[in-house]
Symmetry: C2
Subunit: 135 residues, 2 copies
């Protein structure tokens, strides 16, 4: 890769933002991760308060593994790191959206770029394009 390595752009933690986040009964909130360059939704994982703070402070995506009961920083072992460029919370404060620069192969542990690589039903993009063309 000739491209310069990605660097972190920490977003910073503001108390007034954190107060808006509604963690569930387990102290968790779902975080949707979207790729900045393509708009592709890459994955969804869960954060507790500490994972959210680490994410905002470091500019890397930190999550809480419900199965392993531990923090994990995306790409720390695989190298497929995510560099956070924008971070949002929704109207109810119970979902986070992170816009990232995805490094390496992608977000999915299977090697796919996005975790959402399986479509319901027959392939639909052709249908959607057909609709768009018909309008």
């Amino acid at each position: 890769m000739a491209a310069a390595p990605a660097t972190a752009t920490p977003i910073g933690v503001r108390a007034e933002d954190l107060e808006q986040v509604a963690f569930n009964a387990d102290g968790l909130v779902p975080a949707v991760v979207q790729e900045e360059a393509t708009g592709a939704v890459l994955m969804l994982a869960w954060m507790n308060r500490e994972a959210l703070v680490r994410t905002l402070e470091t500019g890397r995506t930190w999550f809480w593994s419900r199965s392993r009961q531990e923090y994990w920083c995306k790409g720390e072992t695989s190298g497929d790191r995510q560099w956070v460029r924008q971070a949002y919370y929704d109207c109810d404060g119970d979902t986070i959206l992170l816009i990232v620069e995805q490094e390496g192969r992608g977000a999915c542990h299977t090697g796919e770029r996005t975790c959402f690589y399986r479509a319901f039903g027959p392939a639909t993009p052709a249908t959607a394009e057909g609709d768009a063309a018909a309008r």
Copy 2:
């Protein structure tokens, strides 16, 4: 609006797809809704199996309201309907992604187009552009 009204493109329900979906202990799975035309992530809501089946069968977004304990079809009262064009499930089967045509004002009950209209920290797009320009 001079544009022709949007119409449904049902995706269809396949048993082999449904079997891949891992509902949580409450029988729910989070569904991320993304706008087809802009790539914007609009909202996240929850589905039980019946809501997922209704969504795939009707081509409209159906969810399960945890607070009201009832089904709701997005836009049925507001007119801000969502027409499903593509539907995906992730590698673990525990998150759904719906690509929709958003009708009306948008997805958020506040009147915003997306529910993710509040950013953490200082505005970051300028920073991200600065980084991109510097690379």
